[in-house]
Subunit: 213 residues, 2 copies
């Protein structure tokens, strides 16, 4: 049984798949390009299936491991095929032209915009937007397990994503309702500007964000 | 020479003063209540002077270690007495009635609202809003030096606050212009809701926020 569908075949798809496999999940990779999806599935190992976004997703959890605009397109195209699913939005809607704001309005979030496009009975959960791909592959940052900030309106869906996170050796932190994605996206935008800033010579799209104690 | 004025005599004043003293700074504590200011100054040790907010601040850097509403009042009351100063805003403008939003509008920040009240020639810098008081006193969290996120529009003022931070054994991270305070305040709001949430039994207004590598 496939219980996790990952849409996308880039570095974030690879990172999340790596952690999910570590947690014993069964995965399918669906890409726009079947060749690329097959390549990633093959590299991930035995049992990972693949297909294209013309195929209906089989997983109970569907991770949108694609940029914001693509995520909206995928969700719109799937429509009712996503009914009943837990849909994980990992996007950071940064305005890459200016690198000075998000493309969503203040008081809104990519997660909420995506949720507007999903069918009744599905639940969008924000997660993995503060975990860079390389840290997901490694499963740690700075020698510590990754913190994964989770926001969503449905307790069952939040729990399913938390289980995915903890199964992969990371710490799930369910911070609140889906609208908290506003703050999660806002802060990661700041962290992304730091990676791009030569004054932070040590930060190269490879840092983690940890709540210490 | 007094080079740091701290307005306030609560736990954040104590925390920031502790780190500044570790860095060799000369400090005055100004409170609404002279008795409380004297008590904190005495506890901090020899050489820390005190006074009330009726006294003009002597420091080149003035830290507003008070809540958001009080910070606005202090800045308004001081007026031209703050000309030429670097003014450090540490506030988190959380709506404590609902604990579900900030009291500033989306697309604005406490730091920017405070800056609107300051005289020409002064520079507001956002800092220390993600460092809980106890971690400042300890100088670390989770066995690691504290990260202090800094946002401001004036490079010299940002550098002065960075020096204060690094002198106290912490890591300054200058994230960008003052408007980045929006994202810093937004994220700390989320972290504060987690401290208040019994599901996070380990988080008791004592966590740190670290960029790992």
């Amino acid at each position: 049984m496939t219980n996790l569908t990952i849409i996308g075949n880039g570095t974030m798809a690879r990172g999340i798949a790596t952690r999910a496999l570590a947690g014993g999940h069964t995965i399918e990779i669906l890409g726009q390009d079947a060749t690329k999806a097959r390549k990633l599935a093959t590299e991930l190992g035995t049992g990972v299936t693949f297909g294209t976004t013309d195929d209906a997703p089989q997983g109970d959890i569907v991770v949108l491991a694609v940029p914001f605009d693509a995520a909206k397109s995928v969700v719109s195209a799937y429509g009712e095929a996503l009914a009943g699913k837990t849909i994980v939005d990992i996007t950071n809607p940064v305005n890459f032209d200016t690198f000075d704001s998000l493309v969503v309005e203040p008081g809104n979030s990519a997660a909420e915009e995506i949720a507007q496009l999903t069918p009744a009975g599905s639940n969008v959960v924000k997660a993995f937007n503060t975990t860079f791909a390389g840290t997901l592959v490694a499963g740690e940052s700075g020698g510590q397990p990754l913190d994964v900030f989770i926001a969503g309106d449905n307790a069952g869906a939040n729990a399913a994503v938390s289980n995915l996170v903890s199964g992969g050796g990371m710490r799930p932190l369910v911070v609140g309702p889906l609208k908290r994605a506003r703050e999660l996206e806002g802060f990661q935008f700041v962290l992304m500007t730091m990676q791009a800033n030569p004054e932070f010579a040590d930060f190269n799209w490879d840092t983690g964000l940890l709540v210490t104690k």
